[in-house]
């Protein structure tokens, strides 16, 4: 992870996943890494499962896609979505998971139930899981929409990028009027990740 790494972002369309992956990419670039990121747009976006692959390295990054079994860190914005991408994970992966649950259509209409204790699917395979109530962190920071930046705060502890760099990136990338609340969410997330 000091020299290269694969970060997987996943969740449900509309949760701010792409922004979180953008902030992370900019922080890694500012720290001198090369990076490539792959996103999903179009039909796949309408409230469906959304993912972004971010690969970084001290040397040139070729493929924009993370191979199965090679994710170093997963940042999951929704509990069940962390489990959906299990084939990308390995035993040594660290999964930061927002404890929020968003029922998919089959659950919302009562046809299926939301899987109980689904994170056990990860821990039982030896994968490290860091559960985070990002919703509560964002609320405390003063804006429910800062869930994504709170999660980036947790992620920031695990990456070879200085805290000051992250703060610079947030200041530079977000509209001025929401910088303060997002810096608070970032700091709270970073603290939660201790």
């Amino acid at each position: 992870m000091q020299e290269q790494g694969n970060i997987h972002f996943c969740g449900v369309g509309g949760q701010g996943i792409l922004l979180a992956s953008e902030l992370t990419a900019y922080a890694l670039l500012a720290a001198g890494f090369d990076a490539k990121k792959s996103e999903v747009h179009g039909m796949a976006q309408r409230g469906g499962s959304v993912e972004a692959h971010l690969r970084f390295g001290r040397t040139k990054v070729y493929s924009p896609l993370i191979e199965p079994g090679t994710v170093d860190i997963m940042l999951a914005f929704e509990t069940m979505e962390a489990v959906r991408y299990l084939p990308l994970l390995k035993k040594e992966s660290t999964v930061i998971v927002n404890t929020q649950q968003i029922p998919p259509p089959a659950v919302a209409t009562g046809k299926m139930t939301y899987p109980d204790r689904c994170l056990d699917e990860l821990t039982s395979r030896g994968i490290s899981v860091i559960p985070v109530d990002a919703f509560a962190i964002a609320k405390q920071a003063g804006n429910l929409k800062a869930v994504n930046v709170a999660l980036v705060g947790v992620l920031s502890r695990l990456l070879p990028v200085e805290e000051a760099t992250w703060i610079e990136v947030i200041k530079e990338r977000l509209p001025a009027k929401i910088v303060e609340v997002n810096l608070a969410a970032f700091a709270a997330g970073r603290k939660a990740g201790e």
């Binding site: 001198g32 996103e39 747009h41 976006q45 070729y62 029922p103």
Partner: protein, 609 residues
Amino acid sequence: MVNRVAQNTSTAETLWMSGNEALALGAVEAGVQVASGYPGTPSTEILENLSDYKSVYCEWAPNEKVALEVAIGASFAGVRALSTMKHVGLNVAADPLFTASYTGVRGGLVVIVADDPSMYSSQNEQDSRNYAYAAKLPMLEPADPAEAKEFLKLAYRLSEQFDTPVLLRSCTRVAHVKGVVAKGAAETSGVTPGLEKNPAKLVMLPAHARGRRVAVGERQQKIAEFAETFAENRVEMGDRAMGFIAAGTSYLYAKEAFPHASFLKLGMVNPLPEKLIRDFASQVDTLYIVEDLDPFIELRVKAMGIACTGKEKVPAIGELSPAVVRKAITGEAGAAVFGPVELPPRPPNMCPGCPHRGLFYNLNRLKVFVSGDIGCYTLGALPPLTAMDTCVCMGASVGMAHGMAKALGAEGLGKAVAVIGDSTFIHSGLTSLINTVYNQSYSTVIILDNRITAMTGQQPNPASGSTIMGEPANAIDFPELCRAIGVKHVRTVNPHDIEATYAVLKEEIERPEPSVVITRFPCVLTPAEKKRPKKPFHSNTANCTGCGMCLKLGCPAISWVALTPAEATAMGKKEKQKGYTIINETMCIGCGQCLTLCKFEAIVAGEGK
């Protein structure tokens, strides 16, 4: 520059950009003057980003054929011109493409076509390289955003140097991949703008076309010779036991999987550099061709009489990846990975408050066969709405419904309808509606008029009243248009009004004459609708009997809460009640469709905020 990278390791300004952003910048640096396209994932953001520069004239055309014709005209007028589209869009634009190959260009002319291996957002997986061969045109294929920008600039130089339109093949993993891009110098075309008569070259009468056919053959020969020394057809010698020929993202995947092998990385996939390939092949023990979709390079290399391994190992279906390439070549599965866990699926869905939902609920009720089309509303095929029965290509719904009517005659009356969005209708449904009237059909065409091209991200279209450049424009009056082409029965309804929509649909579907029903309400994602103050509804749980009527809409804002008999009794409900529904007030926009369906006053209209 918004995308500036804070890293300062080189003198050139570096930017973090998607392939589509990089292509837009490439167009600016190449001095493009006119750009016309039609939205289609994954190509859409090229023009959207280009229009943000304000220095280049950009437009959304009604369809790809028009877009390419606009670009051809601009090229004939002596400026650099661009046309953008997705792979299936090139089918629509194929007619002008094949003959523009004969006329050649004045200002550089490039068509960017974006393929979608694995069909993330497409109805088929066609390989656009076949068009380059069939239309006798050079095609460049970049691997990432940095190359996308450079290759577009190269494409303009080639276009003017060889008097030819040039195709640039993008794909999902170039268009929607972000990477570091170096800002470059602006270029200008050496061509003087203006109109010059040149009938032997520009008027493709058969006699002229025969002459141009010979010129095209000579041009192909010259470009093939050029390809031999083209700097982007590059050899990277490594371990000679394995040699790979690959282009675009396939090169990246193979390079990642076999970093020490030898590579011939092709920047130009048509025509191929035969001598270079022969030379490379002679220096490696085993030659592999790694390419997604069709065996385009492989068949040509085999036709040169060179032994190689390609599609017998590398999949011809779906997107490649380093893992797929490694497994295909070595036959080894690689490190054991965890298998997937079975979970409730999370497919895409229409938004809460989407006006299409009311229409599809009614079509499901009417039990008609729905000849469908392409847009967000194709999601009407999914449960619980389950009210779309065909989807072939842009505009197909209207002609197909007419074909069904002619096949079944009187027996088919009242059994089939066509549904088509406003943008899709303008794209290629209008001519089919003219056919329906002209050939005396009885089919009913429903135009889902939400005033925007929604699926690809709210692009304005000729019914929206504005342009991509943000200027006000005429907004097509659909009822007037339909009457003008001879449709006598044209009705407009608000699809949120479920019962009124049902009544109108029933009447028109049974009518033994052509009719049009326009379901008109703006998309919830248009800027005006987003700004409109919302009055979310809420649940009166005490009244809910758990009948499940509201769930038939499949609205993401309504969800089911299951109850055990004990819980039901504790809530004061009948023991056998299996659950109740609740409205998520942060998602609900108060469209009112569910209110109409609830017979127990368990849904209450919002007071507003």
